[in-house]
């Protein structure tokens, strides 16, 4: 498969089923560096599965995913893990912060997993917490902060390794609209400033409005809306 010129991540004819349930049925996808692409669709349409396949978390049953000229399905589990550690960042609906670590330790965690010394990792984490306007929460545990604050910490964690790709699965799903919009602003601004591509799974139009382009997934099939901001 030849990826579109300049694309960072391209997927072709992805198929994935969980038992009798077909989650992806020939989905296509591509994204360029610095681009924000929203993946939209109703609940159960397969959009989260598409994100998991693109991020190398779940292998598709068939189809191809090329990242930076490398075929993901040809990589071992350890290679895909290393890719996620070093080049991908993740934001989930409920933050999924480690409850026993402080916010700064949570943000520093991906760096530490890549072997960065603790102090250096925590310095970088504090910088990102500052950029996301939650640096005063560094010493607190996730249980002690609000949902919106926690989600900003999660965004900082996703960006701290300076990833080339950020995968965000319903990042504002658990937030009120005000908090949601602020998180989206911070996420997209920060990603654009580092030229990171963002795959944004959402079912909310106002969240999708922060993207450069939309892809709609329905019954496991994707349709590129080619909408320019």
């Amino acid at each position: 498969m030849t990826p579109p010129p300049g694309s960072l991540l391209t997927a072709r004819d992805l198929r994935k089923a969980y038992g009798p349930t077909v989650a992806l049925d020939g989905a296509e996808f591509s994204i360029h560096p610095g681009e924000v692409v929203a993946v939209m669709g109703p609940s159960g349409s397969g959009k989260s599965t598409l994100l998991h396949c693109l991020a190398g978390i779940v292998p598709p049953d068939s189809g191809s995913i090329m990242y930076d000229g490398r075929e993901l399905s040809g990589m071992s589990d350890a290679e895909r893990s290393a890719l996620r550690r070093g080049e991908f960042g993740f934001v989930f609906q409920f933050g999924q912060l480690v409850p026993e670590l402080t916010c700064v330790e949570n943000v520093a965690l991906p760096l530490r997993l890549s072997g960065t010394p603790r102090k250096k990792a925590e310095r970088a984490a504090l910088t990102w917490l500052e950029r996301l306007e939650v640096d005063d929460l560094g010493g607190k545990r996730p249980g002690e902060v609000s949902g919106g604050q926690g989600q900003r910490v999660a965004v900082a964690r996703a960006l701290v390794t300076a990833p080339r790709m950020v995968f965000a699965d319903e990042p504002t799903g658990a937030l009120d609209s005000l908090n949601g919009e602020r998180v989206m602003e911070l996420l997209t601004d920060a990603a654009r400033s580092t030229n990171a591509a963002v795959v944004l799974v959402t079912h909310e139009a106002r969240v999708a409005a922060y993207s450069d382009r939309e892809i709609v997934v329905r019954d496991g099939r994707s349709r590129d809306m080619e909408r320019a901001v």
Partner: protein
């Protein structure tokens, strides 16, 4: 707060337990299985006293006292001979019987006496004799099997026992192994033996030590699935339930689990009881119907377990904030206080202190103070451990990611980590204390036999009239036997034994080679006689062994009712010097070679054969026993050892080992369930950690540290409390303080091993939970 409100809330929780769908049922089932295992163990414990008393009663009913005066032959008498033996380490109760009249009483378990050459056997012996494993025993018991001893003639389902018909037993009556009797069973009340206070102390402590972890286990079991339940209860807060009501509802759910657990426990106990009938533990077996729990104790278990379930749940939820939106434990829990936790072990020591030094022969221990004191000390472990874990993990420095994840988790919820290892810590503390006590008093219950196992490994005491000189030859040709020495002996008195023998000395007869086992002989040939000095009573032998002096032979083992057999000390006695004989004695005696012994004396000598064999030959002791049975079916065979432990002491110690194993296995099971539950709770988090590339090794290591840190602290605390309790117990029995480090290490090692096994078993589920499927919500 009214009883009605309590009843309503508990009832509501009870209903929720069964209407919570699949998840609710699984939770009830987990709790019920956990509580059930604990209840079964408690019921078994309450049934043990009854089982032992039934065994005791059965044993009394069949007692056939062969000691005492010889009674005349009558229509209601029989001659019975004790031919107990041992096979592959198992005792075999054997009796040769010869009824002398039609009214001779029949022992319990038999309807009639077997004819001469026939035998009736216990079911277990029948099974053994019919198997290839029992081939050698079959050769020793060459009787035809004609019947089975029924249950009322046996003390246990696996007891090996037989009654064999014999004839011409009367001449063998010796007032010890063979006797004439006219009844079975004990007459009157058996003498009340003064129970040894140290043994009572040991039994009490063993019971507390073994039951305490079971209680901890039950307390853990009623909290299975607790975290998920707490979230479910948040929904109740949303519809107006206050926090107290919510806790009572949670307690109602636990109550439901514990009640189902009682039913499960009864079922496990009944199943286990049937199974118990087919097994033997430390040489003791029971029939299933022996295992009847005492009704009072069973009622206590039935009340205490549900009550404990309610109390434990209320206690556990006191620090949990269940909010209407499901936020549980939002803030760091309050710091644990040390002072009241210290009061428990200190209170325990205070209860035990008044009994220090009470272990003498007349001493008595107050059972309530002992039980209460030990209980408080062990409960102290469970109270101190959460504080210790919290205090230590708060000071732990940062390290690798795995270490940091573990330490941070422990800092956030040190209580649940401490709870996980509480059971192990209590079991180890108790076991360390007991091992110390056992090691301290072992000397009092172990005596040196003096037997020299390098010169002989078996001693065979032949019955009266058995030609001992030729017996040795038969042993020498037995497979595996290297050497056999036979000696005959009798006591010599200065006067007729009817009126008291006056001074006495020993007469020993054997070949020159045999006599050299007891004295250093200058030279020896058949016909020689020696006077041996340098032994235990030189004065008597020097006085009596004078040529020409007439001495009187003990013809009936000191009873003084036999004929007066005289022997004149011959001229030409050679002097010899005593050496320690194989049985550990060093006797001053008169030694006679065979030609120097007159026939009438020779017949009256008690024959003993000392056998040395090659232990490398399989079943060599069984071959030797078979030869002994062939030479003399009434022979008394003894296996030698350098030390001999009191049977009661050994039984209690073995009981502790078996109990400790059961308890550790039980706790291991509870640990595993708790561990798996915690992992399931974190499924989504584990998946997300895995999503951003966390290595499996990192998370596995973090789980290991998360277990290893509290376990290490728990075992350290358990050792400290165990050593303290052990020291107090040793002081109580008046034994010098000493630490048996080997047992401390072995017990803590066993505890650590259980935790390692549990961690290893929880790794595969951990790896499964780390799969990305955990991120899926649909």
């Amino acid at each position: 707060m009214s009883t009605r409100e309590w009843g309503r809330d508990l009832g509501l929780g009870f209903r929720f337990a069964f209407t919570g769908g699949r998840e609710g049922w699984i939770r009830v089932l987990l709790t019920a299985v956990g509580v059930g295992l604990g209840v079964a163990l408690l019921l078994l414990t309450t049934a043990i006293p009854n089982a032992l008393s039934v065994r005791h009663a059965r044993d009394n009913d069949r007692a056939d006292h062969t000691y005492g005066p010889v009674r005349p032959k009558a229509a209601n008498t029989l001659v019975i001979s004790d031919t107990d033996t041992e096979f592959h380490g198992h005792d075999v109760r054997g009796r040769l019987v010869e009824p002398e009249g039609p009214e001779a009483p029949v022992p319990p378990g038999l309807t009639a006496y077997p004819a001469t050459g026939d035998m009736v056997v216990s079911p277990a012996l029948r099974e053994l004799l019919g198997s290839s494993e029992g081939r050698l025993l079959r050769a020793r018991l060459p009787y035809r099997i004609t019947g089975t001893i029924t249950e009322d003639g046996l003390v246990g389902s696996r007891e090996l026992a037989y009654y064999a018909g014999a004839k011409n037993l009367a001449p063998k009556i010796d007032g010890s192994r063979t006797a004439r009797i006219d009844m079975y069973g004990l007459t009157g009340t058996p003498p009340q033996s003064h129970a040894d206070p140290i043994l009572i102390l040991l039994v009490l402590v063993v019971f507390v030590v073994l039951l305490m972890p079971v209680a901890v286990f039950i307390a853990t079991a009623v909290r299975f699935g607790g975290e998920r339940r707490d979230r479910r209860l948040a929904a109740l807060r949303l519809v107006g339930s206050d926090s107290r009501m919510t806790r009572r509802i949670a307690a109602g759910e636990a109550l439901a689990g514990s009640l189902v657990g009682l039913v499960f426990g009864t079922a496990f106990f009944l199943l286990g009881r049937q199974f118990a009938g087919s097994m033997e533990v430390v040489g003791i077996s029971v029939f299933p119907d022996y295992l009847n729990p005492s009704p009072t104790l069973a009622a206590l278990v039935a009340l205490a377990v549900p009550a404990a379930a309610v109390l434990v749940t209320l206690f556990a939820l006191r620090g949990v904030v269940i909010e209407p939106l499901g936020v549980v434990r939002t803030a760091k829990p309050a710091r644990r206080r040390l002072w009241w936790r210290l009061l428990l072990p200190l209170g325990g020591i205070a209860l035990l202190a008044p009994m220090i030094g009470q272990g003498g022969s007349d001493g008595q221990f107050n059972q309530y103070l002992v039980t209460g004191g030990v209980l408080l000390l062990l409960v102290g472990v469970t109270a101190l451990l959460p504080w210790a874990v919290e205090a230590v993990v708060a000071r732990l420095h940062r390290g690798s990611v795995a270490w940091q994840l573990a330490v941070r988790r422990l800092q956030l919820s040190s209580g649940s980590a401490a709870r996980m290892v509480n059971g192990i810590a209590v079991a180890v503390a108790g076991a360390v204390a007991l091992q110390m006590l056992f090691a301290g008093v072992q000397g009092d219950y172990t005596k040196r036999t003096g037997q020299d196992v390098t010169r002989a490994q078996m001693q065979i005491n032949l019955s009266d009239g058995t030609p001992f000189r030729t017996a040795a030859d038969q042993f020498r040709t037995t497979k595996g036997v290297r050497k056999a020495v036979s000696l005959g002996s009798a006591s010599l008195g200065e006067k007729d034994w009817k009126n008291g023998p006056g001074d006495t000395t020993l007469l020993v007869s054997g070949t020159c080679a045999s006599l050299r086992e007891t004295a250093r002989l200058p030279s020896c040939r058949d016909g020689d006689a020696f006077v041996v000095t340098g032994g235990e009573d030189d004065a008597a032998v020097t006085k009596l062994a004078r040529p020409g002096r007439v001495l009187h032979l003990d013809a009936d083992h000191g009873a003084g009712k036999g004929p007066d057999v005289r022997w004149t000390v011959p001229a030409g006695l050679k002097p010899a010097h005593a050496i320690t004989s194989p049985n550990g004695t060093r006797s001053s005696a008169v030694l006679l070679t065979p030609a120097a012994v007159p026939d009438r004396v020779d017949r009256l000598l008690d024959g003993t054969v000392y056998v040395m064999f090659d232990k490398g030959v399989p079943d060599v002791s069984e071959y030797t026993r078979n030869t002994a049975a062939k030479v003399d079916p009434f022979a008394d065979v003894m296996v030698w050892s350098t030390t001999e432990e009191s049977r009661n002491f050994t039984s209690i110690r073995t009981g502790l080992y078996v109990g400790a194993l059961c308890v550790l296995a039980l706790i291991g099971a509870s640990l595993l369930v708790t561990q798996l539950e915690q992992l399931r709770e974190r499924r989504k988090l584990l998946s997300s950690l895995m999503a951003f590339g966390t290595r499996r090794r990192t998370l596995s290591l973090s789980v290991f540290w998360q277990t290893a840190i509290p376990v290490a602290l728990g075992l350290l605390l358990a050792s400290v409390v165990g050593l303290t309790l052990g020291a107090v117990l040793l002081k109580m029995v008046g034994s010098p303080l000493g630490v048996d480090w080997r047992s401390v290490l072995s017990m803590t090692g066993a505890g650590a091993a259980v935790v390692l096994v549990v961690t290893a078993l929880s790794l595969p589920p951990l790896l499964r939970l780390m799969r990305p499927e955990g991120l899926r919500t649909e």
